[in-house]
Structure formats: C-alpha cells, structure tokens
C-alpha cells in the first residue's frame, strides 16, 4: 500500500453537458512511469489537469501521498510538477531567470536554487544560451527548458502531458532519456501521449483511455501478450473494436 504515490478513484469531469471523464481509476507506484495513452479528446489531459490541481473533479477522488485533492491542493502542489502539452515560458525572461524563478518556489534554502539550476543546465544542454531571452528559443529548446523546470526539483511526481509533442526525433530521444534518468533517481512520472510507440518504449505501466473511460491497465508487454499484438497501437485498436 505504501508503494502507491497517487490513487485516482472513479474520477468524473463534466464540462456542461459534455462528460469528459466517466469514472477513471488508476494508481501510480513510487518510481514508476505510468502512461495514459489514447487518441485526442480521450480525456488524458483532463485527467492530468485534475491531478495537477488545475481542474476540480465533478466526482470521484484523487489522493496524492495521503493528501486529498479537494482538501489539500496546496500540499499536493508541493510534491508535484506539471508540464502542460502547450506550455510556454515567460518570453521577456532569460532561460536562467525563468529557471531561477521557478526554482525559488520549491527551494527551502538559497543553496537549493543553485542545485536545481545545475541540474536544469544538465538537462537543457544549452548553457551558453541560458542568458538569452526565452522568446529567442526554438520550440525544441523551449520544451527542454520546460522539462528541465519540471524535473530539476526532483518532484515526488512529475506530470508530463505529451512531453515530446512537436519535437523532432533527436530531441524526442533526448527527452525520453532524461525522463528515464530521473525515474532512476526516485521521481515518479505520470505522463500522457497519443504516440503509443513512444509509450511502449518509455513506460513501466500504461492505461489505455478512450472516450473518458479507461479500457485497460497493465505493463506494455503484458498487454501486448494478452491481446496478441506486436505493439500498443494494435492493443488499442482491438480494445476499441
């Protein structure tokens, strides 16, 4: 039981008459990469935004390290970081200023900020450009900066929505490597993607979600075996059919 860091139970979310989530339940274990996979509009982002304390669920519960989402959102925010799919950084700040700004929210003492920045520099890989304004960065550089921001504090749970969205193959590979490294150091990851091949490579367990409902949960290999499929895309197709 102690191995569970996040427990999502029967989560529902309505936007007016639209039912975005129809009772989603899953758990994330410590030190694992748990992925939500599914097509656009399946409910992945809504689920992640609820866990990240951005949206209030219509029904159901979310418990992170024993804290209830409705009662203790501030406690939850101390242990998580969230990387939205279409996130940006403040264009008028330099990359370094942005990292310092974000680090200051998590640091307990001034030395922590320096430690976080050092970590972030290793992740981004473009130290020489960190003194330039974020507005001058390419999409790949901005995404790396944002990923560095999400991981530099070594959160208990990093929530990453489509972490490699819009990136080229090389940048995507680098980002996947970085995520894996941080998981080895004890960070748990909840991520979403509609790229099922990427998830196959990256995640320890996956939940296949469609139309606001989770259809299946398991390790990629176990799911492929269960549905006699070569990859997760085939698993998904069989589940939907």
């Amino acid at each position: 039981m102690d191995n569970i860091i996040l427990r999502v139970n029967n989560l529902r979310k309505n936007y007016g008459k639209i039912e975005a989530l129809k009772g989603v339940s899953f758990e994330v274990k410590k030190g694992e990469i748990f992925a939500l996979i599914g097509p656009n509009g399946a409910g992945k982002t809504t689920t992640l935004r609820i866990v990240a304390t951005l949206l209030t669920p219509t029904d159901g519960s979310v418990e992170f390290m024993g804290f209830d989402l409705r009662k203790n959102p501030d406690k939850i925010r101390q242990g998580i970081t969230y990387l939205p799919e279409e996130a940006g950084a403040y264009k008028n700040l330099t990359g370094l200023d942005y990292l310092k700004f974000m680090a200051n929210f998590y640091a307990e003492k001034p030395q922590d900020v320096d430690m976080y920045i050092e970590r972030a520099i290793k992740i981004v890989g473009f130290k020489d450009r960190l003194k330039d304004k974020v507005g001058t960065y390419s999409k790949g550089m901005t995404r790396k900066l944002l990923l560095a921001r999400a991981l530099m504090t070594k959160p208990k749970l990093a929530i990453l929505d489509e972490p490699t969205s819009g990136l080229d193959v090389i940048n995507s590979l680098e980002i996947r490597e970085v995520i894996r490294e941080f998981v080895k150091e004890g960070v748990s990851v909840l991520l979403s993607s509609h790229n099922m091949l990427e998830i196959d490579f990256l995640s320890d367990r996956v939940a296949i979600i469609n139309n606001g409902q989770i259809l299946e949960i398991g390790e990629p290999k176990a799911l492929k075996d269960k549905y006699s499929a070569d990859n997760l895309e085939e698993v998904f197709r069989r589940l939907v059919q």
């Binding site: 304390t53 925010r77 998580i80 969230y82």
Partner: protein, 425 residues
Amino acid sequence: MRKFTNLLKKEVKELITFQLIVSLLFTIGLFYFIGNIVQSEVQKAGEKRDIHVFNLDDSQESKALLDGLSYAGFKINLLEGKDKAEAIEYAKNSNINLLIVIPEGFSEAASKFQFKEIEAYSFIRSFSMTSSANAAIVDQVISEINKLLSNNFLKTNFPDFNPEDIKNPIKSRDFVVIKDIMAEGSAAEVSNIVYSQSIFIPVILMMIIVFSSQMVLSAMAMEKQDKTLETLLTVPISRNQIVIAKMAASALVGLISAGIYMLGFRYYMGGFMGNIHESGQLNELMQKLGLQFTSCDYVVLGISIFLAILCALGLTIILGVMVEDLKSAQTMILPLIFLVMIPYIISLFSDINSLSLPVKVLIMLIPFSHPFIASQNILLGNYAVVFYGILYMLVVFIILIFICGRIFSTDRVLTMKLRFGRKER
C-alpha cells in the same frame, strides 16, 4: 513571503518592457515639446501689446490720447507717411500685425461729441494664438480711448469729482463665506484657484486606473496567450498570493508610469497655466478660508485614490479571467474605462455634489467617483462624505478580492471562457 517576493519581482520584470520605457520617454518628450511651444505662444500673447498708429490728426489732444494709451500698457509706434493707403501698404510689407488710423480732425470732433471713426487694420499672417490676440487688442485700444475721452470730459466739467466715482457710483465689497469662516475676497478668484489646484487629481487618477488596469489585463492575457498560467497555477504558492502579486506589480508599475506621464503633462499644462499664480493677497485669503491641504488631508486624499486603484485592479482581475489573448484584453478594458469616464467627465464639467439625488446615488455607486470629489470635499471640510467614500471603496475592494480569490481557487480561472462558447479539451 519569499515566494511572494519572487512572484512579484517576476511580474514587475514582465511589465517593465523596453517598449514601455520607450513609450514613456517618448510621451514625456512630446509633452515637453508641445508645452514649450504653447508657453512661448502664451508669453508672446502676454507681452506688452505692440500697436502701430498712423495719426492724421496732428493735435495736442490726439498726442495726449496716445500718451494715455502708452500709460495703459500699449507700446505705441508712430508711422510716418503721406496718406492712409501708403501707411497700410507699409504695414503690409513690414510684418506689422495691427495698425490704428486716427482720422484727421478727430480731437476737434471729439470735443464736440461728434466722434469720427478710428480705423483698426489687423494683418493676419497665420492662425496662431498670437494672431488671434489682435482682435482683443483692438477692443482694448477702443475701450482705453473711450475711457480717456470720457474721463477728460468729466474732469473738465466736474473738476471736484473723481471721474471714476461719477461713472461707477455704486461700489461693492466681496466676501466669501465657507461654513463658519468669512473673509473678504472674490468668490470667482477663489473658485479659479481651487479648480486649478484640483484639476490634476481626476487626470492623475484616470491615468493611473487606466494604466494599471491595462497592465493587469495584459499580464493575464500574456499568461494565457503564452501558456504560462497553467504552470504558474501548479507551483506551491497560494492562489491569493498570485492574485495579489499581479495586482501589486501592476499598481506599482501603473503608479510609476502615471507619475512619469504626469510629469510630462505638467510641462504641457504649464504652457497653458504658466501665467496663473497666486498673489500674496490671494494666498492669504485661501489661508483664512482654510482652503489649503494639510498633511493629513493629503494622506486622506492618497488613501481615497489608492483604494480606487485597488478597486479597479480587483475588477480588472475578474475581467482578466475571461481574457484569452492580448486582443481580447483590449476589448475587455472598455467596461472599466466607461466606469471611470462617467465620474471623470462629470467632475470636470459639473459638481457631483449638486446632482439630483437618484443620479448622485448612481454615480456614488461607482467606486471611482469618490476620489474625484474627495479633494473638494476635503477643502470644504466635508470629511464625513470622504470617509464614507473610503469605507465604501474598502467594502467594494474586499468583495472584489473575495470574488477574485474564489475564481482563482477553483478551475474557473481556466474554464470561464467555456461559458462564452469555446470547448475545453
């Protein structure tokens, strides 16, 4: 507190952009430039009035008349020439603006009360403030001549009387009464001084409110447009602190910007009002009537203005939640500008205190009305009205902050736009 300071610093950094600094410097330069031009034109208009005279009546009386005009503040330049046409031609070619022609036999006719017409020629070469002053000079010259002639006549016929006493047998002494204080002086002069002192307050307030509100809206719009709001809302800092940091940064930058704009505006207005100054006598009158701000009055006025700014910022945050990008932010500021404009315009052209009760109540419901009328009420000693206004604005501000806090603590800050027809994924 450290997290709040961190956020506040970021907000200020985001607001003070290169474009803002350039725009402020440009505005100051522009105001200074226009103010200087206006001031030089006003000075020109106020200098000793230069008139050119072609005197065809070569009598002692007309010479005395010209001496009288000179004594009355006109600089007399006599033109030599054979006839009127030649004098006009000369004036036309010599950059002369005003030519007065005294006809032949003028003095003799005047002594018999058979006045001949004095001809005044204004040469318009531009339509600046100086050229328009010519018409006024002509009136003044004629008025002075009439005065001199009538005084001479009265002196001759009634040597024991002062001509002024005959022309104006009823004299008056003006008194101004404010509440229990009475002092001798002109009500019009007192009103002018108070008006010239307090005219800046609505302008300053209007500028600060519009500036700060635009900054809050832009900051909110940028957060949404650049997709940074979601990240900010998940960091470990309370939502109330996010709201307050945004308001504080905007108020700070708004105050600085408005201060800089006002500096420029002062140069500009100085051009128009440079010649208005209080004489020692008038100053004494203002002191007697208690029409001067004390340090405490300034503090009360400052609190009133500050609360109005806070109310505007609270309202802007609520409007900002519905903003999606910079373009929609420009539209969203309009309701607030209207709310500020109503008391602003009324306070410039009328007295809010003298409006009918229902209209007055409606105006007073707008929180921004209170600082507009605060300065005059403070001067008139109506402190109760000012304090009620402060209390009212405080209540409005607390309600607005409560609403802001509620919006930011729920997902409405992200989903409110859904109600306006957009679908959330």
